[in-house]
Symmetry: D2
Subunit: 295 residues, 4 copies
């Protein structure tokens, strides 16, 4: 079974001021990520504004990522979840053709009230049956309104190609239930502030917006945990808490992109309806970055 | 200002067993709807599984609806909300080209936590500025996780091309606040069981899944209300309550399509991940239809 | 079966500045309510700050209400729901002894996740079995986090002493399901802005904070509806929308009490932790009252 | 500042079959808890069915706990939160008189929509100003519907008598924000499955239903963490996950009491409306206990 353990940024998509994809900026960002202590990247994911991209654009950015990352030995995990089962299968197969090593699959979420246990099992199993690649289930109720029950994840884990999950809800109690039942399931913290708590109960890594511009401290945290230096790990984790909250829940993708712009990456604008970060948000993030040790 | 007052089904999309669009079935359904006491149809909307259709398919079904309905004098209101502002504008203009008379615009909802008052105002105003057609705002928190505040609707109503709203949350208290502030805003009940309550506070009609196969009793209810026959209106409203709950919240689109199959329309399968209605659901709907007077 | 049809304020408890009960002010308010076009009062209920009163205080105010209202022929419906089944039975029997004609029973709500269908049925049936008085079920999820399913209300309605419900969630679709199944169940709108929508589907009245100081327009609305003057009813309903939102959701009991202070009643302070209405809230309510015709 | 670091059960209240308090059983339970590797007990708390006890009963059980525990050197943290500020102050002072060493204060929650930042600050500061004892804030949104923002906890931490918090929502991301701002704030995991994740980010212990009957493995987990044996800590944590979920979210207090009955303690019945655990739940807990090493 593919072992994906490690740290990954769900990378942002670089856009020009006219909202077109800035492929040159995306490539230069990818070169930088390839040189960071990361195990690969996730693209396109929530922070990539995948929901704001056409299917063709999603395929394009997967290809760019695969091509740029290949020489570096970094992994590409492609986000391939679509609203229908058929499209998700199609996109997953395309991602394999384009060079992804695994896929992260968000559930269908428009008819959220209908996405019950049986429907989710049928959907993911149908996708996994047709997938050439191992699958991570993506639980992100803040965006989908769908929150996987522990039992659903446990049953999905029985499929040989469903190897793990990213949990952005950071629900340690649920993930303890999952890992108690299926200890080899590869669980990833879905937000920077949950990395150490998740590692403590057996998660194997993190897929974190924060890793777009703070890979080094996250790696130090990860290594400190693995070496049993729990006090050091805790201190790094807490040092990252406020900036993590700022670039996820509080200011969202506009905040994340602004923080990248201030940290040597190209963040750039989002697509509308997301609006640029206001003056107060910029000041807040400036202050938090100044307190941070990114090296 | 275009007066859209009246009754509309958000029509289902007919699919073949292989999940391709069954254009012949869609056309024959449209012929039937054109002969019912309806003021037009909404397409593609939530019940059309628009979320499960490609952009090209959405344009196709708009064209089919416009072409079939034109001779009948029935209105086509096209669902044109997309995740980005730019795509929503593009789709709205296309719908106008294809013959829609108005558009129903669902908000972007992936980044639901970011869809606050200012973001929604900016999005809808940008769309309305570029729209050749009048706009209905579509509030459906059960699917989007975005629930418009009264104040947002009131401020949007100031735009000359934002003429009304469909509220599927059936929140009479909020809609009373809206109609108290902007009495000419064209409010539509978004579910069959809310029709009479909404009419009682000044709504002008309904956009209701139930109208896919129960146009006649809904029309009788509407006419009874307008004629001041409140007892008759109430009795019809209550007679429709259980079937309405069944084909919306309880069994969703699979339930709606099954009810259509039993009522002289083509319902057919849904696209996956939605699963076919189970035996219990079919029996439940059979029972409810047997109690109903659809003539 | 006792017919409670009509309009009721869930009355506020008058407190002195030191937070003790101002019995003189409560009595003078009761005299005023007795002279208004109301069918009775509810006490102690949510707006009475019952949750902030001791059991002894609740009994005291029930007695005061019963004694003052008796000569007027107005009804007293006592709020007797407690956290345990045993205490609810005890309180219900006490209320009967003190002169209440019916009781309004809020569900236990601390263990809200456990208040499922079976638990609610067992609780209410146990109370009803021991109750000397008819019972109204009180659905107020905004305060309890417990939201009755239609099916629970329908099954409770089979008990001869469970005669109706107050629904503060104003969910017209659910109440249509209830009234379709049990047409004689006495349903009351639980907030002023839902009165006309609820009447339209067969509710028999309202239990509304607004009735503390706006009984006359609410009565006019009620009479207009009953006489089939739907346009007039609608206009009154909309004229009350903004003040209703202000004294319920927006500013809560402090807002309601302030509005009473400005309308010839004694509102006075709330108990802490509720804080006095701020300057902006007072100005907002002043403006709304100035627009209102309370005669 | 009092250092409360350690492990505590929020103990259950022993009831007789007639729902009266079984003081003899409570005392024998207390003797057992005093001999377990616990740092004290919390009483009355959520699991004590405090919400189902009168004020007099709450004082009685505090006294019993203080008297029984005193010779053992174990701490008593009394739950003293009431709906009003005045009653909370009064109860807190009584608890001090009766021998408690600290208090755990649940927020007022009936008017949950009004329990905003400013109201919570004013309430807790007023209580802390009058409290003879150090205070732990109790965040338990599953029961209260009130979820403290990180900023509220951070500002409360500035009060010299507000020394920490119990977080039953197990939100590691929020607690990381709190501990990053106020590292000496004494944070406690509020559920067994969150103990290790919370310790990993700087929490000082746990207040956990599970500790009612599983103190030994929880202590081993705690010691393993403190000694840097992260793998052992993780394994114990995961071994407790399913039973923890069973005696909290899944089966609640009836489940917890049943598990105690099977583990050498007196669990006994709950007060109604809570119903006894059904056959399926008993079987489920039997199975989970059989898998567990409680020594």
């Amino acid at each position: 079974m593919l072992n994906l353990a490690g740290l990954y940024p769900p990378i942002v998509t670089a856009f020009n001021e006219d909202e077109s994809i800035a492929y040159d900026k995306l490539e230069s960002n990818l070169q930088k990520w390839a040189s960071q202590p990361l195990d690969g990247v996730i693209m396109p994911g929530s922070n990539s504004e995948a929901a704001y991209m056409t299917t063709a654009e999603r395929l394009d950015v997967i290809k760019v990522c695969a091509d740029v990352l290949k020489p570096s030995g970094k992994r590409l995990v492609a986000g391939t979840g679509m609203e229908t089962t058929a499209e998700t299968i199609w996109m997953t197969q395309k991602a394999a053709d384009l060079g992804a090593e695994a896929v992260l699959v968000i559930p269908p979420y428009f008819f959220k009230g209908s996405m019950k246990h049986d429907v989710l099992l049928a959907h993911y199993r149908a996708v996994a049956d047709e997938s050439p690649l191992p699958i991570l289930v993506y639980n992100v109720p803040a965006f989908t309104g769908v929150d996987f029950a522990a039992q659903t994840l446990i049953e999905l884990a029985a499929h040989p190609r469903i190897i793990g999950a990213k949990d952005s809800s950071a629900t340690v109690t649920k993930m303890a239930d999952v890992l108690a039942a299926v200890p080899d399931f590869q669980v990833f913290a879905g937000t920077g502030s949950a990395l150490l708590p998740f590692l403590s109960i057996g998660a194997v890594g993190g897929v974190m917006a924060l890793a777009n511009f703070a890979a080094k401290p996250l790696r130090k945290l990860y290594e400190a945990f693995r070496a049993g230096r729990s006090e050091e790990a805790k201190n790094i984790q807490l040092s990252l808490a406020h900036i993590n909250t700022a670039v996820t829940g509080k200011y969202g993708v506009p905040g994340l992109k602004y923080a990248m712009d201030q940290s040597g990456f190209y963040g750039g604008p989002t697509r509308r309806p997301l609006l640029p970060l206001g003056a107060e948000g910029r000041k807040d993030i400036d202050r938090l970055l100044a307190e941070l040790d990114l090296e």
